[in-house]
């Protein structure tokens, strides 16, 4: 950017600042942040967005712009760190780069950085970052193999850092997330050896002690997470035995959805129970079964492709179009005769799925 452009941008920024001061609004904050972003002042743009968010609550546009500014700054810093590492590698740079990748959800790259760091004498700290990256990957994809490797890397980190709490704490959180309470109790015991008398740890020890009897083995817990796609905390009794989806919130929404022109079927299912509007009798049952099968297959394919948790499946063909929105509570689906699912129907199906989420269900 040459000096003329910069000079003219300064003028526009001054105007935008004046507008924000005289009449604070989301649009004026967005305009000011946009002007800063245009001349490459990402940190300033992010600061303006945060100020706007403080003033106007959770505004989607401001949040999106703030996220984008943060991502651009991270990208810039990543490039800079990569260049510096090529010139003169050192521990601090490796750590920061790995953290940046982890923050951006690039766990594989973080692990690659840790592996490179290990080659350059990273020892325990690098092992810890590698374990952290693998744990992030396991939590995103819920694959047993990732979990197994995460524990393997944690073993190595503990071996390299014998009196360090960090790998033990990481192990404890991972064990709790999969519900392997027996191993979690052992990890708490090891932590108590390092910090004797810690009341929080002692309380945790007592809690896990009461859960040990029915606790699965480590391998069984990993297997269960892979099979169900849910971590231990997501399998609380409310989730495990959900109420039938017949509460007031869902049925009217389903009926409204089914009454839309071109909608052939609308359904909501949770566990083995399904509410279907449109088809009746055996056809309704078969439609519900089809949706369940599509969700199961798609969930496993998404995970194996490394795409993470399933959010939506959309199918289009000569029959029309189908949109399925699965979630923790249950899956909502709509089958239409249109070649694509219109935006309005998408919004309704997402809202239906959201209404069936356990916490909303309880409120209803």
């Amino acid at each position: 950017m040459n000096w003329i452009e910069r000079w003219s941008a300064r003028g526009r920024i001054k105007d935008a600042r004046r507008k924000v001061a005289n009449e604070p609004s989301v649009a004026h904050y967005l305009a000011l942040a946009g002007e800063h972003a245009r001349i490459g002042e990402m940190s300033e743009a992010e600061r303006v967005c945060n100020e706007g968010l403080e003033a106007f609550g959770a505004n989607a546009e401001l949040s999106r712009l703030a996220d984008r500014c943060r991502a651009l700054q991270d990208e810039q810093r990543t490039r800079e760190l990569t260049r510096q590492l090529r010139e003169a590698p050192r521990a601090g740079l490796y750590r920061e780069l790995a953290e940046l990748h982890l923050r951006a959800g690039r766990s594989q790259r973080a692990e690659d950085v840790a592996a490179e760091w290990l080659e350059n004498g990273g020892e325990g700290a690098a092992q810890l970052v590698r374990a952290q990256a693998r744990i992030a990957r396991f939590l995103a994809d819920r694959r047993r193999e990732d979990g197994r490797l995460a524990f393997e890397f944690l073993d190595l980190a503990e071996h390299a850092l014998p009196r360090d709490e960090r790998p033990l704490r990481m192990r404890l959180e991972l064990l709790c997330s999969i519900g392997a309470w027996r191993d979690a109790r052992r990890a708490v015991g090891q932590l108590l050896e390092l910090t004797p008398g810690d009341p929080a740890l002692e309380a945790r020890f007592r809690t896990y002690n009461s859960l040990v009897e029915k606790a699965p083995t480590l391998d069984a817990a990993l297997r269960e997470v892979e099979r169900s796609g849910h971590l231990s905390a997501e399998r609380t009794p409310t989730h495990a035995a959900p109420a039938a989806p017949t509460s007031g919130a869902i049925r009217p929404m389903l009926q409204e959805l089914a009454s839309q022109p071109s909608v052939l079927a609308a359904l909501y299912e949770r566990g083995a129970t399904a509410l279907v509007q449109g088809p009746t009798g055996a056809t309704a049952e078969r439609t519900a079964r089809a949706v369940r099968e599509v969700v199961q297959r798609s969930r496993s394919t998404g995970r194996r492709l490394g795409l993470g948790a399933l959010l939506e499946v959309e199918v289009e063909g000569s029959f029309g179009s189908v949109l399925i929105v699965p979630g923790d509570g249950g899956a909502a689906a709509v089958c239409t005769s249109l070649p694509t699912v219109p935006q309005e129907l998408r919004t309704r199906v997402r809202a239906l799925q959201g209404a069936g989420a356990p916490e909303r269900e309880e409120q209803a």
Binding site: T287, G306, G308, F319
Partner: protein, 156 residues
């Protein structure tokens, strides 16, 4: 086939663009899937086409035909599959990328694919070399004798 896929990979947000046969044999593969359980285009193309084929029995309840377009939206990316007459074209895009914007480029890629596969082989392949020009004497003798070289009457 890379020339069909390359424009797709240039679209912002597209991580992978690939083409495979309906039974999962990869024809062309551009890009990389970072977190996939298995590496290699063979395994991944098999996984995608396996998913498409696996949905057929379930979707058979609503249609005789296999679906034309499938979108699998996940937390770390979206898989978009388009079926061509004898191939499966698919792309993996970053989360947040507008999948609807890919409708036109994917359609264009499929049309191009169909055009390429239907074109006569003579247009696609490199044309054969032209016959070599005969030496001057030989051509003169051929015109004199009014017969070709197979007759074996070369001039003295």
């Amino acid at each position: 086939m890379n020339e069909v896929l390359e424009p797709l990979l240039r679209i912002p947000g597209v991580r992978v663009a690939a083409l495979s046969t309906p039974d999962g044999v990869p024809i062309a593969w551009l890009g990389e899937l970072e977190h996939a359980e298995q590496s290699g285009s063979d395994a991944l193309a098999g996984l995608v086409t396996g998913w498409v084929q696996g949905l057929a029995p379930s979707l058979g309840l609503v249609s005789w035909d296999l679906p034309q377009r499938l979108v699998l939206r996940c937390s770390r990316g979206t898989l978009v599959v388009e079926r061509a007459p004898s191939a499966v074209l698919f792309v993996v895009v970053e989360p947040g990328t507008a999948v609807e914007d890919l409708r036109l480029p994917l359609g264009a890629a499929l049309s191009r694919l169909v055009r390429v596969s239907r074109a006569p082989r003579s247009l696609l392949s490199t044309p054969a070399a032209l016959p070599q020009r005969n030496p001057k004497g030989l051509s003169a003798s051929l015109s004199d004798n009014g017969s070709d070289s197979s007759s074996g009457s070369l001039p003295a």
